[in-house]
Amino acid sequence: MTENSISITEKGFQELFDLHFNALCAFGSKFVESQVIEDIIQDVFISFWQNRKEFTNSNDAKSYLYKSVRNKCLNFIRDEIVRKKRLQNSIVFTADIEEFVIEEEVFNQLYQEIKNLPNASQQVMLLALNGLKNEEIASELNISLNTVKTQKKIAYAKIKKRLGGIIFSILLSF
C-alpha cells in the first residue's frame, strides 16, 4: 500500500483486505458468534472503502478497522437484545481492546507466512517458526518424526517455487 497517495487504491484495498481479513474475523469472534462475523467484517470493509479518503497510512487504516469491528459487533449484540428481547447472560464490553489487537496482530504475521501452504504443512511450519525442534513438533502434533520432516520438505519446495518465480521475472526485466 503506498503511503504517499491521497487515499488507498482499489489494488491497495484488496491487499489490505487480503492481509487482514482473517485477523479481523478472529478478533470479532471474541464478541459475536462466527456465523455472523463474516457479514460484519464485510460491512466494515464497505464502510472503510466509503471513507477511504480519511486514511493516509496503514496504522490509521488498521486502527479504524479494529475499532469498527468492535463497534459493529456491539451494535449487533444490542440489536439482538432489542429484537429478540432476550438478556444475554453476560455482555462483554470493553473500551480496552489493545490486548486483543496485539494478540491478533502477532498471530497474523505468522499466519501470512504459512497461509499458502497445504493444511498439514501449515501446522508443522507454524511450530517451526516458533523455534520448536522436529522432535518437539512431532510430539506436539502427535505425528511421527518422519512426517514432520516430509511436511517441512513440502513447505520449503513450495516456498522455493515462489522465490524461483521472482528470480525468473527479475532475470526477464534486464
Binding site: D79, F93, E105, L141
Partner: protein, 394 residues
C-alpha cells in the same frame, strides 16, 4: 493503538528471532510494566493457542467475502450508498449512518453523544488524593500540591512525595513493645492513595475508603483497620500482619492480597495474589476460619458468618491498582456503584429491570464518563441522563 501495533511487531520479531537488542530492551520494558502485559506476551508465544488460532483463521471464507465486496464496490452497476447487507440490522443504526454521512462511523449515535458529553463537564475520573488524620486529630489534605511535607510524630518520620505517603521509624526510639500510635488515611470518592508503612509494607487505598494503621510497629502484631478497598503487599518481618474489617480479620505473614469491604456492598471479598492468608469471621462467641492460597477468594456476605471460597484470577481483582476497572459478570447495579465511587456522582435507577444486566469487561479508569456510559448504552437499551446533578438510568 499505534503502540499496540508496535508491540505486536516486536513480539513477532522475538518469535522469529530477528529482534535487535534495542528492540528487545523496549519489549522487556513493556512486558515488565504490568501483569497483564506478561499475560499478553506469554499467550502470544503459546504454541498450543497458536494451533487453535490457525484452525480458526482457516475456517473463515475470505474468497466469498471478497467476492461480495467486489460486487458491491467495484462492479460497473450503480453503487448504492446503503448496500443490501446493512439492511438486516435494525433501523436504529441506519438513521445515524445517514446523519453522520460517513465522517465518523464509530460514533453511531449522535444524540447520545451530545447528551452524554454534557456529563464530562461535571463528572471527572478520580485522581490521587486523600486526607491524613494524625493521632492528635490534626488532619492534612494530601494531593499534588503537598510535595515533600515532612512531619514528625512520636519518633516516626512521615513524608508525602509524588502521591506516596511514607512512614519511617527512627530505630533508636523504639524500645520493646508499647501501645501503638495510630494514624488514619481517608480517601474521598474520586480519590485513591499509596502508602508505605514503617515495616516496609505497601498499601494502595482505593476510592471512598478509610485505613487506620500504626505509625510504627512496636506491638507484637501489626494491626490495621479497613473500611472500603485496599491492596496490600506485606513485608516479611516475623510479626503477624492483621487487617480487620468490622467482624472480619485477615491474617498474613508476608504476602500480596486485595480486600474489598465497602459498607454498602452485599459481600466482602478477600483475594490472594501470593503467599498465604487466613480469614476469620467473628460472630458472638464463634470464629469461622478459612485459609487462602494464591488465586483463591474468600467471600463473606453481610448477613451470614460463613466464608465461601472461590477460584479466581487474582489479577482481575487487583487491576484497579494499575488503573483499570474490571467487571466479572457483575450486575449494572454493581457496575454503577463502582463507577460512582471513582467518578464521584449520584445516580438513580428509574427502571428496576436495568439493574440486572450483567457485564464483564475491562476499562481504563481515566476514560471519560461519557465514553463509559456510551459503551453501556450501546450494548443494552438503557439510557443515562443528567437531571439535577443525578444520573438517571432508564
Amino acid at each position: 493503538m499505534k503502540e499496540s501495533f508496535r508491540i505486536a511487531e516486536l513480539i513477532s520479531k522475538q518469535i522469529s528471532a530477528s529482534i535487535s537488542s534495542i528492540e528487545k530492551t523496549d519489549l522487556d520494558t513493556w512486558v515488565n510494566q504490568s501483569a497483564k502485559n506478561v499475560t499478553i506476551y506469554k499467550n502470544a508465544l503459546n504454541s498450543k493457542k497458536q494451533l487453535l488460532k490457525l484452525e480458526m483463521y482457516n475456517g473463515f471464507n475470505k474468497e466469498k467475502v471478497w467476492g461480495n465486496l467486489k460486487n458491491e464496490l467495484f462492479s460497473s452497476k450503480v453503487i448504492s450508498l446503503f448496500p443490501r447487507k446493512l439492511m438486516k440490522y435494525a433501523a436504529a443504526i441506519l438513521i445515524p449512518l445517514m446523519l453522520a454521512s460517513g465522517v465518523t462511523y464509530f460514533f453511531l449515535n449522535r444524540e447520545a453523544e451530545t447528551r452524554l458529553s454534557l456529563l464530562d463537564e461535571k463528572i471527572k475520573p478520580g485522581v490521587q488524593k486523600a486526607t491524613l488524620v494524625l493521632s492528635n486529630g490534626d488532619s492534612h489534605i494530601l494531593d499534588k500540591k503537598n510535595l515533600e511535607t515532612i512531619l514528625n510524630e512520636a519518633g516516626t518520620q512521615i513524608s508525602n512525595t509524588n502521591n506516596l505517603l511514607s512512614y519511617m521509624a527512627n530505630e533508636d526510639k523504639l524500645e520493646g513493645f508499647r501501645e501503638p500510635t495510630f494514624n488514619k488515611l481517608i480517601t474521598p470518592k474520586g480519590g485513591g492513595y499509596k502508602l508505605h508503612l514503617a515495616d516496609g509494607s505497601t498499601v494502595w487505598l482505593n476510592a471512598d475508603s478509610k485505613l487506620t494503621f500504626p505509625i510504627a510497629f512496636t506491638d507484637s502484631t501489626r494491626h490495621l483497620f479497613l473500611e472500603g478497598e485496599a491492596y496490600f503487599e506485606v513485608a516479611h518481618n516475623g510479626l503477624p500482619f492483621i487487617v480487620t474489617s468490622s467482624n472480619m480479620d485477615i491474617r498474613v505473614m508476608g504476602t500480596s492480597f486485595n480486600i474489598s469491604a465497602y459498607p454498602d456492598d452485599a459481600t466482602r471479598k478477600t483475594t490472594l495474589v501470593e503467599g498465604k492468608v487466613r480469614v476469620d469471621v467473628r460472630k458472638e462467641n464463634e470464629v469461622f476460619q478459612k485459609i487462602l492460597t494464591p488465586n483463591k477468594q474468600a467471600i463473606v456476605s453481610n448477613n451470614k458468618s460463613e466464608i465461601v471460597l472461590a477460584d479466581v484470577d487474582a489479577a482481575d481483582y487487583k487491576s484497579w491498582v494499575d488503573g483499570k476497572f474490571e467487571f466479572n459478570n457483575e450486575t449494572l447495579e454493581q457496575v454503577m456503584k463502582k463507577l460512582a465511587r471513582w467518578y464521584d456522582f449520584e445516580y438513580e435507577f428509574s427502571n428496576e429491570n436495568a439493574k440486572s444486566f450483567h457485564f464483564s469487561g475491562r476499562l481504563d479508569n481515566q476514560e471519560k464518563i461519557s465514553s463509559v456510559l456510551n459503551m453501556l448504552e450501546k450494548t443494552t437499551n438503557v439510557t443515562f441522563k443528567l437531571q439535577n446533578n443525578v444520573i438517571v438510568i432508564k
